[in-house]
């Protein structure tokens, strides 16, 4: 096996081994654990960089291990998986740094970081899975490895949130397992391939394929938080802030959205799916989810809860993009996979900083926070404006392409949904920004920590600043050759290619 052969397993092992070692570290070895964490994340980042470089130069990557009779455990790197794996690896690095700062002096850190690493291993596995069974395996691993993170605090509320999380995701997993088994029975081993693999079956199994699509969406829709399967997400936000960041931006919800993208583009093929007539209902569900999540976010006073409902709404942009036929909508949806990730993680970092530094958890307590923590609030502001779709930030690029795609495809109602969603986003984000920047701060913050010269711990500060800079970059340089949009355009060209 040459150097290239080691990259795929290396990407998985870099976080898996880190996690395994950390489990056996004592609670006190703070320094070693931190270094191990950063080392794992750094190595993974380098490997993903090498992967990008290789793919750019036309190198193919695949790896197969025997698993079930006739169905190997297959890893591979196509354009879609590289998009997701780059996102999760990059954000994992910064989330790790953030988590180290956030959990300083709190108990059970070895357990936490161990599962943290496993969670990311599972996510990268989902990204790199080259066939349906591999995808399913990592998808379930993700469920299992995230649960301990959700209940990390161990409070009754956390346990309840974890229970709900587990019930939902395991339920979804069962449905997904069924769908995978059924499809294998129809089509044999299913490798992911651009423009789908089931075209030949359409004539004979039209009805079954439709039911199967419904099953896939039910199974994966739980993690993607499609209404009415979203109930676990606002409950799971009892987890510590770095976990919320991970859940919302990198791992769980994103895995769901990515799964839907995989099913639509690389299993069914978007044109085949359109011919089967399954895209229109999916678009409708996504549209309803977008509006429902936004309306509920309006009513939340708890900052993280408001962000959670906002995630419900925003992730469905990705689904919406997948559910509309045409390269423009595909671009809009896929690029939001990255854009939503960097924006939402910035928002959760910000919310975590407020909670950790000032003890502020509610929107109504945020008065004047911009003056106490200008850098954090600036990052939060950029991300929030991006979510609303203010140009030239990342979210605006998404909305432009989605709207254009929808109108080109003749689905004008989608443009209306997106417009309404922008207004609702503004209605629940702008009051926060107004409070933070224009109102006077209170005499005493609920629970203030001092960190010397900086407004908060440097590790807590670095992560949101980097991700906020990314939000600006992804928008301002969207049409340059080195941006999420450029990569996504490549994927769309392959999906709709001649």
């Amino acid at each position: 096996m040459n150097v290239h052969g080691w990259i795929l397993p290396g990407i998985l092992l870099s976080s898996f081994l880190t996690g395994m070692v950390i489990f056996f570290l004592s609670e006190e070895s703070h320094r070693l654990r931190t270094w191990l964490n950063l080392l794992g994340a750094g190595v993974k980042l380098i490997l993903v960089g090498a992967l990008l470089q290789g793919i750019y130069h036309g190198q193919g990557y695949s790896l197969e291990l025997d698993f079930l009779p006739g169905i190997p455990l297959a890893l591979g790197a196509d354009a879609n998986s590289v998009l997701f794996v780059t996102l999760s690896t990059f954000l994992w690095f910064w989330t790790t740094l953030y988590a180290v700062g956030y959990l300083e002096d709190s108990p059970h850190r070895s357990r936490f970081f161990g599962f943290f690493s496993l969670c990311v291993t599972a996510t990268t596995g989902i990204a790199l899975a080259a066939n349906l069974v591999t995808f399913l395996v990592f998808y379930e691993l993700l469920t299992v490895s995230t649960y301990p993170l959700v209940v990390h605090r161990g409070t009754p509320e956390a346990m309840r949130g974890g229970r709900i999380y587990l019930a939902y995701t395991l339920g979804g997993g069962v449905v997904l397992l069924l769908a995978v088994a059924w499809l294998h029975q129809l089509a044999g081993p299913v490798m992911f391939r651009e423009r789908g693999v089931i075209e030949g079956l359409v004539a004979a199994h039209r009805g079954e394929l439709r039911v199967l699509f419904l099953l896939f969406m039910l199974g994966i829709g739980v993690k993607a938080a499609l209404v009415p399967l979203h109930g676990w997400l606002p409950k799971a936000m009892v987890a510590p802030a770095p976990v919320s960041s991970l859940l919302h931006a990198v791992a769980v919800v994103k895995a769901g959205a990515f799964g839907i993208v995989r099913i639509v583009y690389d299993v069914y093929g978007v044109e085949t799916a359109a011919r089967l007539g399954v895209l229109a209902p999916l678009a409708f569900v996504a549209g309803a989810t977008i509006l429902y999540g936004s309306v509920l976010a309006l009513f939340q006073d708890e900052l993280k809860k408001r962000l959670a409902y906002s995630t419900v709404s925003q992730v469905s942009y990705i689904v919406l993009g997948a559910a509309i036929l045409g390269p423009l909508a595909t671009i809009g949806g896929l690029v939001h996979l990255v854009h939503q990730g960097i924006m939402k993680i910035t928002l959760f970092f910000g919310a975590g900083n407020y909670a950790e530094t000032l003890g502020v958890h509610r929107v109504s307590e945020l008065n004047g926070v911009g003056r106490r923590m200008p850098l954090t609030t600036a990052a939060f502001t950029i991300a929030a404006l991006g979510m609303i779709g203010v140009p030239p930030l990342a979210g605006y690029i998404t909305k432009w392409y989605l709207k254009k795609g929808a109108i080109t495809a003749g689905a004008e109602w989608v443009a209306l949904v997106l417009a309404l969603s922008s207004l609702l986003n503004a209605a629940y984000f702008l009051p926060i920004l107004y409070r933070a920047w224009f109102k006077d701060p209170p005499a005493h913050w609920p629970h203030e920590h001092c960190f010397g010269r900086l407004e908060t711990h440097w590790m807590l500060l670095a992560a949101p600043l980097v991700t906020a800079a990314l939000v600006v970059w992804a928008g301002v340089f969207a049409e340059s050759s080195f941006s999420p949009l450029a990569w996504v355009k490549l994927i769309a060209a392959r999906e709709y290619g001649p």
Binding site: L178, W182, G231, L296, V363, W400, K403, S422, L430, F438
Partner: protein, 585 residues
């Protein structure tokens, strides 16, 4: 490509942005604030040297940004840059004691950069991006004062601005899809897209203060500090006008519906502005209503151009003259509020009074002023309309001018510098920028292309009378009003409050409890007080909303149980189904 005008294009748009970014560095702030007003200078230089056709492509920026100076843009850039330059200069004196001076200038410079960029934008995404940024940045100016009135004005402004931006983005995407291009210059060749037309009309109507979408304006413009009001009411309001000129297919196809809408909304705004504006107590509110009226008059010009494509060429020049005239005169009036309040000596009072009078007369269209020129230019193009319409407009427009005179009289009455009424603070640094703008008001319009051709060759007494009678009528009405005022003991603003329609909507929203729960999670059960007589339907609706508020969390919770159970049940059922389906094989 790298010729001077190309650089100047980038510099004009980029300089304010760069200065705004420099403000972030705390240690440089004092120095940066000193030169901040100069950020508008490159734009002014560009407008004056005017290399029409200069183009800069920045393909790496946002969505292939193209900056371009065309003839229309040059005029807009001219008056816009003058206003920003003077207002920035003025702001340094006006806000010298303000602890948040740097925050003010941050928003001021961002809005300035956006305003220049949207004028220079050669492609649709850049135009939209600049327009949206300007809307948000200027909200910071409205909020600046930080009291309850500013907070209310800012909220109303922000709601309307966001609504406008969303409408515009959707409309522009429709345009791009229908036209197959993002370049503004290449647009309109394709078919007229009806949704795009509607959305563009309404979206920019919010910024331009078109009737029924105007009510944020008399709240927001007075709430901002004086220099910000000047640019809001003089320069930024014109972005709505520019949007229409760029994106409505004027001069290409006859658009009856669109034209009649513009005409109706414009005339309505002209008269409503007078009716409500004239009873206001705050001089800046009177000016804001005057802006609504004046934009209304400009809209009638657009309306005529929309109905008759062949009229557009002449009308466009008239609209440009009118826009320039209004921008400069309105800016001079707003900025005049500061010196008028700070005139201590007799000489200062005379200068302040003379300057205000000059600007007010110009706005009212007195002979030999820029206003007279603008009105003549507009009237010259009415002839394209059918007989009856032209006649009606021939009467309505001068009546609107009489209304303007009335408002100007009211304004002068409110701000007139009187001995012993001056505020204690000396107004250092306000006089020169203001006087410069007054001078620009007197002279600026005559620099415009085509302005001299509008002038009648010979001055006849008839023509003079045409220009004079609305003025005399307005003056007479003002005198009558002042005399009648003695018998009216009640405050008329009770029925005609600033923000007219908006106040009704606010009350309705309050009644419907539509304010999102940002203040307190739930308001106490508040039944209608004895002084209010609740409309039945409204109270029923409010009960419904209250109930929905309680019901939503309950629904969420039930979903949690139902969904879990349901998913498992479904899974089991489907496994059975799958087995059944599999069995024949």
């Amino acid at each position: 490509m790298n010729s001077l005008p190309t650089w100047l294009l980038g510099l004009a748009a980029g300089a304010p942005l760069a200065v705004a970014l420099l403000l972030a560095a705390r240690s440089w702030r004092r120095g940066v604030l000193r030169v901040a007003p100069l950020a508008a200078a490159p734009a002014l230089v560009l407008a004056l040297t005017g290399p029409v056709g200069a183009k800069a492509s920045l393909p790496w920026l946002v969505q292939h940004t193209v900056l371009e100076l065309d003839a229309v843009g040059r005029v807009f850039l001219g008056f816009t840059s003058v206003l920003w330059l003077v207002s920035g200069w003025y702001a340094r004196g006006y806000l010298v004691k303000d602890a948040r001076l740097s925050r003010f200038f941050l928003f001021f410079l961002l809005a300035m950069a956006a305003n220049f960029t949207l004028i220079l934008a050669g492609d649709i995404p850049t135009f939209y991006a600049a327009f949206a940024l300007m809307g948000l940045a200027s909200a910071g100016l409205v909020f600046h004062r930080g009291d309850a009135e500013a907070a209310r004005a800012g909220r109303v402004y922000l709601v309307l601005a966001m609504l406008g931006e969303v409408l515009i983005l959707t409309g522009l995407v429709f345009l791009v899809v229908a036209g197959g291009t993002t370049q503004i210059a290449e647009l309109h060749r394709g078919v007229v897209s009806r949704p795009a037309l509607l959305l563009v009309l309404a979206g920019f109507g919010i910024k331009a203060g078109a009737l029924t979408l105007h009510f944020w304006l008399p709240l927001a413009h007075p709430a901002a500090p004086v220099p910000a009001s000047a640019v809001l009411s003089g320069a930024m309001i014109k972005a709505g006008l520019l949007g229409w000129m760029r994106f409505l297919p004027l001069g290409e196809a006859p658009l009856w519906g669109c034209g009649v809408t513009l005409l109706g909304a414009g005339l309505g705004a002209a008269f409503l502005g007078t009716l409500v504006g004239v009873v206001q107590h705050n001089p800046k509110t009177v000016l804001a209503y005057s802006s609504i009226s004046q934009m209304g008059i400009i809209m009638t010009g657009l309306g005529i151009g929309a109905i008759h494509p062949e009229a557009w060429a002449g009308m466009q020049a008239a609209v440009l003259i009118y826009a320039t005239h209004h921008a400069l005169a309105k800016g001079a009036l707003f900025l005049g509020v500061g010196p008028a309040h700070a005139a201590h000596t007799r000489r200062q009072r005379v200068v302040a009074g003379a300057g205000l009078l000059l600007a007010a007369l110009a706005l009212a269209g007195a002979p030999f002023t820029s206003g007279a020129l603008a009105k003549t230019a507009l009237k010259a193009n009415i002839g394209f309309l059918p007989e009856g319409w032209a006649m009606a407009l021939g009467i309505l427009l001068p009546l609107a001018a009489a209304g303007t005179t009335l408002k100007m009289a009211r304004f002068l009455w409110l701000v007139w510098p009187r001995a012993g009424h001056a505020t204690p603070e000396a107004a250092q640094g306000l006089w020169w920028p203001w006087l410069a703008l007054v001078a620009a008001t007197a002279a600026g319009v005559w620099l415009l292309p085509g302005s001299l051709e509008v002038l009648p060759r010979k001055l006849s007494p008839e023509k003079l009378w045409d220009a004079l009678w609305p003025l005399l009528l307005g003056g007479g009405l003002a005198g009558l009003g002042a005399w009648l005022r003695r018998w009216v003991s009640q405050d008329v603003t009770r029925w005609l409050p600033a923000g007219d329609l908006g106040v009704l909507l606010e009350r309705l929203a309050g009644r419907l409890r539509l304010h999102p729960a940002i203040e307190a999670p739930a308001r106490p059960q508040h039944e209608a007080g004895p002084d209010e007589s609740p409309v039945k339907a409204v109270s029923r609706w409010s009960r419904l909303v209250a109930r929905a508020r309680e019901a939503i969390p309950r629904f969420e919770a039930s979903l949690r149980h139902a969904a879990v159970g349901g998913a498992l049940w479904l899974a089991l059922m489907l496994i059975l189904l799958g087995l059944l389906a599999a069995s024949p094989h």
